[in-house]
Amino acid sequence: MSDKNTSQALKDFVSETEEIIGSLNLDLLKLADSLDSGDCDPDVLNGIFRGAHSIKGLAGMFGFDDLSELSHSMESLLDGLRLGKVPFTQSLVDTLFSSLDVLINLIDGKNRDENFTIDLSAILAQINQAAAADLPGAGNPLTGLGIDAGILNVLTEYEEHRLLENVRKGRRLHLLRMDFDLASFDLDLAEITQQLKQQGEVISTLPSVGADSERIAFQILYGSDLNQADIELQLNREGLDIRTYGDAVTVTEADEFLLEEPTAIDTFTADSSLPATAEDLDGGSGSLRSISRTVRVDIDKLDLLMNIVGELVLSKSAIATISDRLKGTAEKELAVELGKSTRILERRLHELQKGVMDVRMVPVGQLFDKMTRIVRQVANEQGKKVNLDIKGADTELDKLIIEDVSDPLMHIIRNAIDHGLESPNDRRLAGKAEKGLIQLWASQKGNHVVIEVHDDGRGIDTDKVRRKAIEKGLITNTQTLTEEDVYDLLFMPGFSTRDEVSGLSGRGVGMDVVKNNIAALSGMIEVKSQPGQGSSMIITLPITLAIIKALIVRVGEKTYAIPINSVFETLMIDVDTIQSIEKREVIELRKSTVPLLRLEQAFALTASDKDHDHRLFVAIVGMAEKRMGFVVDELLGQQDVVIKSLGKALGFVKGVAGAAELGNQKTILVLDVAGLMSEALRGESSSNV
């Protein structure tokens, strides 16, 4: 390679090997765990083998002979283990760990100085000794099976071993053929492989030409105790074709099936459907684990990092305050310099904050992948046919929020299929397609991410919801309710519109918990529905929770923080402009009517400050399409705040999303805007603290 590339290439080399070593370490730990059972997971072992193999390849390119030699020895040892030639023992695992230690030292040294090296003779001797402990009788038994040479020629060494291993375990061998949309085959295939691996081993995954140019076919050689019917049931996939080679395969039968189409590979026939068997056996290591380009980080570590950044932001605020105060003193020059430095600090801090924030962001696709399984599972259990349409899977959201929204979303989707979608029969009668449609969409709107779940089912029957609510004593039968009020009932504790709670939507979780969980993330959930056309659940979530800009307000003697992304504007109004509609205070704002919420009432504070009788401050807040004015005594300004959870004990305090620390070591409460708004709109806001 050319000189100008060398130093960058070396950096790449070190970072790539560090990643590989990270996953090697994890996989070795897993391998050690499986010592007791004596049976190591082929995926784990393969991951380790691939790791050593990749390091060897890289070391060779850089001319690091020592590293190359060590990883080569490790690779040989692992290859022996992989192919069943070397026994799986404690001392072998110990040897691998020691080798990894030396490997780490070597790479670490080369990172500082390319010429760094260490004496490898001891570790190499140890590895060679372990590799020499050959298992007796480990030849190639496949040759004894009389399998056509044309087939043996296309089997990798490792595949032969895995195939024999499955035969030895008395597993059945199946050849699954299915085809996929070219646009999404990797996801579909990954899902199927995942399912298959739960009860067997995927020995080979071979692609071939699909029915048309938009499709691609795959044949999967699968060893499992399951029979053909079990697999069909488990995968439940249209157009799945399974061939099973003999029931409870014996070596002879396996041999026979291998002979069925023996010449396909030799002739390179263009007809892809022909060489099924032979081709299928040639790939073999379809289960090889990828060494990803990513580092796995415990979310706690990111939290810690985020907290430190948060503390720095607070310290910066403190310095800025000092700088401001200095300006009024004799130390003007110093104040200017401090101000300059503070601004630089602020900019760098902002970059750091953004960097750490970026690390926390993961695509919602991770979440949606989980939901794909739920949809399939629930649809199967319910005997319903469902198409899932996913959009915006690459929208990014804070990892913690993704984790926390997972259960609520799962529940909403279960509900949509269980309660929303009709049975295929009912759908036919209603003139709809038999297959129901669930749409799972994500999009970013400013500082929020919106996740929408739409179904094209029966929609929400508002009369039925009303009746049920009266029955349950949640409302009286004289109460007039808007459509929105009715939907809100769905989120009341203990509400369920079905007489029998199904095993699915049941699970002891109601929509009230869903709503609380989303509120705890400073998010909100909205319902829309058209009878006969379907329903939508729309979840609006902040992109991140860790550090937010907030509007600090004073109410009586207390200060609160309102997340700035919920604040649209602030106003100073005259008390006389407040009107009253249906016992609610409202103001006119640019030709629309905005309801007011007096925070002192919401939090049952005694109004201590009477100076502002004629002038009030209002923060216009909003979520989705709704707007409301929070009436406060004073606006204290904007500030970055670090949100801390209130902990379980205080987690359900209404109207409060969490606590935040201000620069002056004072802790204040952060308002749950969505919660306060919906409480107030329902007219229950006065009784809770």
């Binding site: 390679m1 050319s2 590339n5 290439a9 790449d12 080399f13 790539e16 691939r50 193999h53 990749s54 060897k56 390849g57 890289l58 060779g60 390119m61 001319g63 080569h72 690779e75 040989s76 290859d79 020629n153 296309v154 089997l155 990798t156 060494e157 070219l182 085959f185 990797d186 295939l189 080979s204 995954t205 071979l206 692609p207 071939s208 030409v209 140019s213 691609i216 590979i265 390179f268 026939t269 263009a270 892809s272 060489p275 081709e279 040639d282 790939g283 073999g284 290591s285 379809g286 090889l288 684990r289 990828s290 060494i291 380009r293």
Partner: protein, 123 residues
């Protein structure tokens, strides 16, 4: 139009080295695939004049990719070069018998690769 080379290799470092080696020649375009699946997706989309593949890749390995390519009439005659480590000798031989045209053993010198590309793309 300059000729296009598909590189299927899961190691980013190795891939970058191959790409910079090819770019240094100035005559060819490159398309990169980080695994076998990506290669499968790129093939129908791009007209590729030569394919370089690693053997040991996740998802599907190089042999499966070669088998797919050689059994597809659109790419049956596209030159195919295997890049693998010395220890994968048996698998490499299988790749050759599946229809690969040539192989290079890592580590290789840049001019080795360059010469090979010229042989297949300009010969």
């Amino acid at each position: 139009m300059s000729k296009k080379i598909l590189i299927a290799e899961d190691s980013l470092t190795m891939r970058s080295l191959i790409v910079s080696t090819i770019e240094a020649m100035g005559d060819y375009e490159t398309v990169e695939a980080g695994n076998g699946f990506e290669a499968l997706r790129i093939l129908p989309r791009e007209k590729v004049d030569l394919i370089i593949t690693d053997i040991n890749m996740p998802d599907i390995n190089g042999l499966e990719l070669i088998s797919f390519i050689r059994n597809n009439e659109n790419y049956r005659n596209t030159p195919l070069v295997i890049i693998s480590t010395e220890s994968s000798e048996r698998d490499r031989e299988k790749g050759m018998s599946l229809g690969a045209n040539a192989y290079l053993v890592k580590p290789f010198a840049p001019d080795q690769l360059q010469q090979l590309l010229r042989d297949y793309l300009e010969g």
